[in-house]
C-alpha cells in the first residue's frame, strides 16, 4: 500500500451486531483522498457516511480492511495514539455544533490549542485569527447559548481549523441551519480550504453542500456506488449553477 495519499482505505468493512443480526455499515470500501480535497460523502441515511467519517477520524476502528490516515493505520492505533492523532491533525465539525457550554466562544476555539500545549500568547494569536476567519471576533466573550445556529457552527468551524489540521471532517454541518447560514458556512469552509490547503470531507445529503463540493462519493448500503469529480464552481464564488 502506498502512503502518498492523505487518506487511503482498502476493503474497509464495518459491521455491528444487533442481537442475532449483523448489520453491515461499510462493505469493502476502497478510497483515496489527497491533500486539499473538498469532498462530500453523499447517500441516504444508513448508507455508511458517518461510519466512514468516524473511522477516517480515528473515532472508530474497522472490522476488517485498512484505513491509513496521514501514514497511520487507524486499526493499529491505541486509544491514546488515536486521541493524539485527532488532537494534532484532525478537526471535527458536527451537525449539532457540540460546543462546550460552560466556555465562552474564545475558550471553545482555544481549547484544542490548550490540549496541544501551546503557549498562552500563541493561543491568543491563533484563536483570534480563527475567529476572524469565521467573522466572529466580536463575539469572543459570548457563551454558546447566546449564539444563533449559524454563529454556533462558525465557532465549531473556528475550533476545527484553529490548530490548522491537515483534515477536517464535517458530519452534516448544515443540517440545523437555514439556507442563508448554510451558504455562509460553506463559503467560509471553501475559503479555508483554498487559503490553508485543508482537506474537507463532508458527510451530507444536503443539496446546498453538494453544490459546493468538488468530489462527490455516493455510498449506498455501505458500498461506494459512484465516485465523481464535479465541475469547478464559478470563479466569483457561490454554488455551482
Amino acid at each position: 500500500m502506498k502512503n502518498s495519499y492523505l487518506i487511503e482505505t482498502v476493503d474497509l468493512v464495518k459491521t455491528y451486531s444487533l442481537g442475532e443480526y449483523t448489520i453491515i455499515a461499510l462493505n469493502k470500501v476502497s478510497l483515496n483522498f489527497e491533500n486539499a480535497e473538498f469532498t462530500g460523502l453523499v447517500g441516504p441515511s444508513g448508507s455508511g457516511k458517518t461510519t466512514l467519517l468516524n473511522i477516517v477520524g480515528s473515532l472508530d476502528s474497522p472490522t476488517s480492511g485498512s484505513a491509513v490516515v496521514m501514514g497511520r493505520k487507524v486499526e493499529d492505533l491505541s486509544h491514546k495514539e488515536a486521541a493524539a492523532l485527532r488532537n494534532r491533525s484532525i478537526g471535527f465539525i458536527f451537525q449539532t455544533f457540540n460546543l462546550l457550554p460552560v466556555y465562552t466562544v474564545f475558550e471553545n476555539v482555544e481549547f484544542p490549542l490548550l490540549l496541544l500545549g501551546h503557549a498562552s500568547s500563541e493561543r491568543r494569536k491563533m484563536t483570534t485569527a480563527a475567529l476572524e476567519w469565521v467573522g466572529l471576533a466580536d463575539r469572543a466573550k459570548s457563551k454558546p447559548d447566546q449564539l444563533s445556529g449559524g454563529q454556533s457552527q462558525r465557532v465549531a468551524i473556528a475550533r476545527a481549523v484553529v490548530k490548522k489540521p491537515a483534515l477536517i471532517l464535517a458530519d452534516e454541518p448544515t443540517a440545523n441551519l437555514d439556507a442563508e447560514n448554510s451558504h455562509h458556512i460553506l463559503q467560509t469552509m471553501e475559503r479555508l480550504n483554498r487559503d490553508l490547503g485543508t482537506t474537507f470531507i463532508f458527510a451530507t445529503h444536503d443539496e446546498k453542500v453538494i453544490a459546493y463540493i468538488r468530489r462527490k462519493i455516493t455510498l449506498v448500503d455501505g458500498a461506494v456506488a459512484k465516485d465523481e469529480r464535479l465541475e469547478p464552481r464559478p470563479p466569483e464564488g457561490g454554488p455551482r449553477p
Partner: protein
C-alpha cells in the same frame, strides 16, 4: 486546564452543586464541632484532674489499687526517705487512704477517708481549710457528697473507720468546708481529713497510701515497695471515657457524610449520563478516556474543596466565637463523669481541622471516582450520539 474545565463545569451546574456543597460543608462542620467539643472535654478534664488530684504523677504503695476497696487495708506503708525529702521540699504531698463509713442523719454512707497535709501546695484542693485546733476533727467534703448526705458547713457527722490493727473506731467530724470541684472522684464519696490526724486515728504513723508529685517533676526513680504511675496511666480513664463518647458522636456525622456522599455520587452518575455528548466532543478533540476520568473525578472532588471553603467561610467565625464563649454544660451532663466544670471550651486544633479536611477530600474523591469507571468503556462514536456503551 482540566482543573479550570472541572471548576467551570461544577459551577455551571448551579443549584445542584451548591446543595451538595452545603450538605457536605455541614458534615464538615459537624465533625470539627463535635470533635472539638470532645477535645475540649478531654483537655479540660485532664487539666482539672491533674491540678486537683493527680499532680505530675504518683507513687503508689505497692498494694494500693483505687479500684479495689478491699485492698485498702493493706495499701499503706511508711513514706520512704526519698519521697519524704520531696515532701519536705514541697515537691510532693502524701495522701493516706482509709475505708470508712459516714452516718449522716442515721443513714449509712460508705466513703473513702483521705488524709492530706493542710499546708500542701502540690494540689489545688482547698486543704488549708483543715488547719484548725486539736479540739475538733475538721473534714472537707465535695458538693456532691454534701448534697447526697445533706451535710453543710458546720455540721457534725459520725465517721467510723478501721485502724491498722483491725479495730473499728468512730469519731464525730465537723464539716469545715464544702468544696466545689469539677473532679467527680473528689467531689463525691470522699472525706478529706488532716493527714497527721488521720494517721493517728488509723494507727498508721508516718504512713501513706500514695505520694502525689508536683507538676513538672521529671525524675521518678524506682522506690522499693512503691510503684510510680505516670499521667498516661492515671488519665487513661478520662481518655477512654472521651473516646467512648466521641465514638458515639461519629454516628451523627457518619450519617451526614453518607448523605453528602450519596448526593455527590448521584450527581456524578447523572452528570456522566447527561453529558455523554460533551464527553464525545472532548474525545473528538483529543481527550483520552483517562483524561476524561480525571476530569469527572476532579469535578466531583472539587465538591469537597468548595465544601471546605464554604465551611471555612461560616465555620471559622462561628468556631472561634464558640471556642471563646464555651458551652454552658447542661445539668444532665453532671452525671457523665467528666471533670469539665460549668462551661466547656472546645479545642479546635490544626490537626483536627487538617485531618477532617483530608478525610472529607479523600472520601469525596473516592465517591467521585467510582461512577467515572463507566467512562473507561465509553466509545467516542457512541458518546457523540448521546449513548452510553
Amino acid at each position: 486546564m482540566i482543573l479550570k474545565l472541572a471548576l467551570r463545569n461544577l459551577l455551571g451546574a448551579g443549584l445542584r452543586t451548591w446543595l451538595n456543597v452545603i450538605v457536605l460543608s455541614f458534615a464538615f462542620m459537624a465533625i470539627i464541632w463535635t470533635q472539638g467539643l470532645y477535645e475540649g472535654m478531654n483537655d479540660q478534664g485532664r487539666r482539672a484532674s491533674v491540678e486537683a488530684a493527680l499532680g505530675g504523677g504518683q507513687y503508689w504503695q505497692k498494694n494500693y489499687d483505687p479500684y479495689d476497696v478491699l485492698s485498702l487495708e493493706d495499701a499503706h506503708a511508711v513514706v520512704p526517705d526519698f519521697l519524704r525529702s520531696m515532701i519536705d521540699e514541697n515537691k510532693a504531698t502524701a495522701v493516706l487512704v482509709v475505708q470508712g463509713t459516714l452516718y449522716p442523719q442515721g443513714r449509712i454512707h460508705p466513703v473513702l477517708v483521705k488524709g492530706i497535709d493542710p499546708g500542701q501546695a502540690v494540689l489545688t484542693l482547698p486543704a488549708h481549710f483543715l488547719k484548725t485546733g486539736e479540739d475538733r476533727l475538721p473534714a472537707l467534703i465535695g458538693s456532691r457528697l454534701a448534697k447526697s448526705t445533706g451535710l453543710g458547713v458546720g455540721d457534725t457527722v459520725t465517721l467510723r473507720w478501721r485502724d491498722a490493727k483491725g479495730t473499728f473506731d468512730a469519731r464525730d467530724l465537723e464539716i469545715v468546708q464544702v468544696m466545689k470541684t469539677v473532679v467527680q472522684s473528689i467531689d463525691q464519696g470522699q472525706v478529706w481529713l488532716p493527714l497527721e490526724r488521720l494517721r493517728k486515728l488509723a494507727a498508721m504513723e508516718g504512713q501513706a497510701s500514695l505520694v502525689v508529685l508536683d507538676q513538672g517533676t521529671v525524675e521518678h526513680p524506682p522506690v522499693e515497695g512503691w510503684v510510680f504511675r505516670d499521667l498516661d496511666y492515671l488519665l487513661s480513664d478520662i481518655k477512654q471515657l472521651v473516646q467512648m463518647k466521641s465514638a458515639g458522636a461519629t454516628i451523627l456525622y457518619t450519617v451526614l457524610i453518607l448523605l453528602a456522599m450519596l448526593a455527590i455520587f448521584d450527581t456524578q452518575v447523572l452528570s456522566i449520563f447527561r453529558r455523554r455528548k460533551e464527553m464525545g466532543t472532548l474525545m473528538a478533540l483529543g481527550f483520552t478516556r483517562g483524561r476524561l476520568i480525571r476530569l469527572f473525578t476532579l469535578e466531583g472532588a472539587l465538591h469537597g474543596v468548595l465544601a471546605a471553603a464554604a465551611a471555612a467561610l461560616y465555620g471559622i467565625p462561628f468556631l472561634t466565637w464558640y471556642a471563646r464563649q464555651g458551652w454552658a454544660v447542661p445539668e444532665s451532663m453532671d452525671s457523665y463523669g467528666f471533670a469539665i466544670g460549668e462551661r466547656l471550651f472546645p479545642v479546635y486544633g490544626a490537626g483536627l481541622v487538617a485531618g477532617t479536611t483530608i478525610l472529607v477530600l479523600v472520601i469525596t474523591t473516592i465517591v467521585s471516582y467510582l461512577p467515572t469507571r463507566r467512562i473507561a468503556r465509553l466509545k467516542p462514536t457512541e458518546a457523540l450520539r448521546g449513548r452510553m456503551s
